[in-house]
Assembly symmetry: C2
């Protein structure tokens, strides 16, 4: 059992290094883990990266308990402070590789604290560097999650680590005989979807379901993309393991209506449930939630454009994440179970050069939340008013 786990861990780390970040010989690899319990994967990734020829592996553990101490007991000025070395570490990622490890055993750790302070507790200067690198495509990176008993407890209500590993292996195609080949085929299939969608030249997407009647306007330069990405220097990589979405940049000025989330959202140390947001003229003007509304409100108020969308993504019922039927309390997974939108910054690959800058959101935040599911129909509408069904009962309606 221990040997089996070790072998699986090594294969998973190899997937992160060779398919996900695609670490090149002579590159530095930065590894950032969201929890000290992620140590076994951090170490396996370090070994895999040196085997792949990495020049140096720099590993860092984030500890949300220390953030909790800051939010609870620290001065106001501490909340948005970015230590110089954290900014420098982000800067050093340019031209190098980055692996982010998620799978938080304590997603609600900050839930009992002042939501406004929790929302303000972000290393703004460091995040701006990361967003700039995303725009300039200077980093080959990936995110993947590490199964721990704590995370299993969140997902299943019991620390069934083996069951969580099986779900993770299924979702990341680690259960395939040749995961690298399986990923190639998967990327090809998702890419075909982006070609179908882009050929339609849609003007907007419309989501209709219980508590949802949302129109998301697109730009003439919006471009659906998926799965695989490439750095400016030409290194292909897969930013998310798993990924099941095709996504694009919406026109930040043209979101209208109300949208109700279809899954809980783990964000900033809180689990937000029953989130409903009303949009007018592209801006969120009303936020309600059964739990955690204050954190969302605080994030939406953190920048003048934080209350506008920056991403809209389509996911159908063939999603392996969706097929598990689980809520993972981890955006990397949950966003790949269902259609979603994100408020905050657009992702540069989601629109072509020459986009109207007023329509592309640049707010230094990016929070995805899930709005799709079998009860939510999705249509595309062309600029001449033709309606194109895209999703019905989670089934993809386009030819590919």
């Amino acid at each position: 059992m221990a040997a089996q786990l070790d072998e699986r861990l090594e294969r998973y780390a190899d997937l992160a290094v060779r398919v996900g970040a695609n670490v090149q010989p002579g590159q530095m690899l930065f590894v950032t883990a969201l929890h000290v319990s992620h140590a076994p994967l951090v170490r396996a990734v370090a070994r895999a990266a040196y085997r792949a020829g990495a020049r140096y592996v720099d590993a860092l553990y984030v500890d949300d308990h220390v953030k909790r101490a800051m939010v609870e007991l620290g001065p106001d000025e501490a909340l948005s402070y970015s230590p110089g070395w954290v900014v420098e570490r982000f800067e050093a990622m340019a031209g190098n590789a980055n692996v982010a490890i998620t799978g938080n055993p304590e997603p609600g750790l900050l839930a009992d604290l002042d939501g406004a302070r929790v929302g303000r507790a972000r290393m703004q200067a460091a995040i701006e560097v990361a967003i700039r690198q995303l725009q300039e495509q200077t980093v080959n990176w990936t995110g993947l999650a590490f199964p721990t008993e704590g995370w299993a407890q969140q997902v299943f209500g019991e620390p069934d680590l083996e069951r969580l590993w099986e779900a993770v292996a299924f979702c990341t195609r680690l259960d395939e005989a040749d995961p690298v080949e399986a990923w190639k085929a998967h990327v090809t299939r998702l890419t075909a979807r982006t070609e179908s969608l882009n050929a339609l030249q849609l003007d907007r997407l419309v989501f209709r379901g219980p508590g949802t009647d949302l129109t998301v306007g697109l730009l003439p330069t919006s471009r659906f993309v998926a799965a695989g990405a490439t750095t400016a220097g030409g290194i292909p990589f897969v930013p998310n393991l798993p990924t099941e979405e095709v996504f694009t940049t919406p026109d930040a000025r043209r979101t209208e209506g109300v949208v109700t989330s279809t899954k809980p959202l783990a964000v900033a140390g809180n689990v937000v449930r029953g989130l409903a947001i009303t949009f007018e003229g592209g801006r969120a003007v009303g936020v309600e939630a059964d739990e955690g509304a204050e954190v969302i409100r605080s994030q939406l108020a953190s920048h003048e454009d934080a209350n506008r969308l920056g991403e809209v993504a389509l996911v159908d019922g063939t999603s392996r994440v969706g097929q598990t039927g689980l809520t993972f309390f981890d955006t990397l997974y949950d966003e790949n179970a269902a259609c979603h939108v994100a408020y905050g910054s657009a992702i540069p690959v989601g629109h072509t050069e020459g986009s109207d800058p007023d329509g592309v959101n640049a707010a230094p935040i990016h929070t995805d939340f899930m709005i799709g599911g079998p009860e939510v129909d999705v249509d595309g509408v062309t600029s001449d008013g033709r309606i194109v069904p895209i999703l019905r009962e989670d089934a993809w309606q386009l030819p590919s």
Copy 2:
């Protein structure tokens, strides 16, 4: 039990913040833990520091498993590389407070690797910043250890966490009703010893015991110091919790003879046992050990003056650490059980201004090893040849 542990942990963290580093309102506190299992103390220290008025708490976890991957699989150039952000983090400590957490559950983690590569695996540029800060006395800092089951396994051969906590509480005076007052009294007692020693104006120290006949020459400017320190800006602090030593800077040119260590030494991922070093004209010219000699040889070769002494320290049988009779495999503890010397850099408070720079070691390394015990007699010799007994069968022979 859990509640008792939590209360003890909070008191211990308070001791680190209020007595050890003596964090001042408005200071930043850096916390560096040597192992991810130190998280509970890291978090308690963060809370205590914010309560004491810290402006910001920056916590970092070192992971020797990632270092192991580097030594085993990485390129040569990686070994001595210091990431820019690590150097910047050290630089930022100037004017601020620092807490280092030890108590390594895996002190022999690197023992099966190439000893020469292990010895070279040091962040040289970062260490030089730390040594400069020590010289300039710009940081109020402390080191203390965190009891974990893994560390208890090392000490007792079984994961008896409660027994280790009791030993740690005894050694750090956390078992006293008022540990802050107990520390004041302890510092006063050790300071009286330094006054006795300094009044003698010794020319050299002589250690004689099984496998040991060592003369350590002192400088005219050597000054015995203990326990309490003060930053250049006037903040008093206690660098080590526990501390039982009085120490001084030897004349780096005047060490002669052979010395055999009286305790195992945990250093650089190895446990060195049975270490014997021969000195001629101030330099180590021969190194033998039952285990781990190569790591010591590699360190001694890392700089032209790494093979000279930089510290000599006296500890008697009243040491609480010594009284436990335990080997902790942690220098913070083991060096406080017995007389010791260190090769590498001198500690600036151990000599006065105007010292002959040729006699003060500045090599960017500092490794203590234990040479004292009940079988080792220690004498002082004055410049006119008078012999002053200092330790016999671990008993202090001076009036105070």
